[in-house]
């Protein structure tokens, strides 16, 4: 459950979930909605996938993401959107994300 809270703590990831609520989308289509580098976007997708909130399928060259949330997770997302939760990520998590971004770029 802590993975779910961590995934929902970030506004970008919440926006990704909101977009996927409309329809399944490719990684490129999703990235177009954000002013974030591709490696950072990949890191966000990885966090969401680890938490089990999204599922990915390969279609030719593109990866299609689709929502995979339980009712409880959906309700948590609704609360997070309504009250704008910004949970503190631990220092180690931030360091890991930063290292991954530097490594990928």
């Amino acid at each position: 459950m802590s993975r779910v809270f961590k995934a929902l703590s970030d506004p970008t990831r919440r926006r990704v979930l909101e977009l996927l609520r409309q329809r399944p989308m490719s990684a490129g289509d999703l990235a177009d909605h954000f002013d974030v580098s591709k490696p950072a976007m990949s890191a966000h997708f990885a966090v969401l996938r680890e938490a089990g909130l999204i599922d990915s399928q390969k279609h030719g060259k593109s990866v299609i993401y689709e929502l995979q949330m339980s009712v409880l997770e959906d309700a948590l997302l609704g609360f997070a959107q309504a009250f704008g939760w910004k949970l503190q990520e631990s220092k180690s998590t931030k360091r890991k994300t930063l290292n991954r971004e530097v490594f990928n770029s």
């Binding site: 329809r23 399944p24 399928q57 689709e66 995979q68 949330m69 339980s70 009712v71 409880l72 959906d74």
Partner: protein
Amino acid sequence: MNCQTISSGPLKFSNRPLKMMVLAFLGFTLAAAALSMAGKMGYIESALLKRALGLIIGAMVIIIGNALPKARPLNAPGVNPPGPAAGAERFAGWILVVVGMAYIALFAFAPLDEARRISAVLGIGAMIYIAASWAWMARGLVWGGREESLADRERAAGKRKLILPLLLAFCYVLSTASMVVLVHNRHLVEEIGWWMFLGFLMLYAGLRVVLDRKRCVS
């Protein structure tokens, strides 16, 4: 023209939400059976037994409803449009969770007769609404749907192998429980129960045939 039958391969029990749904269904059904036995043997008084069974069914409805959108029962590439299908699953999940919570509130606090009547109507209403909206969603079965890759369809068929009988068994238990409350004639209940069992079996067989049928790609 190339025709292929969908084969789902060996049954995989690795899908977590599906596993949770199966375990919840089996666990609560066993608990309900054990309670009924205890009631028949005289260990639990009738009113308490009925309340306990209502609470158990409520909890089962909540757990299955919660995991429903994650298990993706409507994921049938080439038959359902993916976006609306996911929306229908999510809405069905929400309906079941709210109905389950209503069951628990009713059987915990309301007078027993009222609780049984209202819960039966709620349960049957929810099932009819979900069945109708899902049938509308799967209208691609009639029109032929879009062609999708065989790998995608086989992946979905693997999940369906477990979710389909589970959902039908769940509907059977819920509708039987509701019918026992609404129909007071015991003989009639047994007869309707038997026909419902046959109906659900035939529905399962029909769905398997239609969903796993040969698709031809020209």
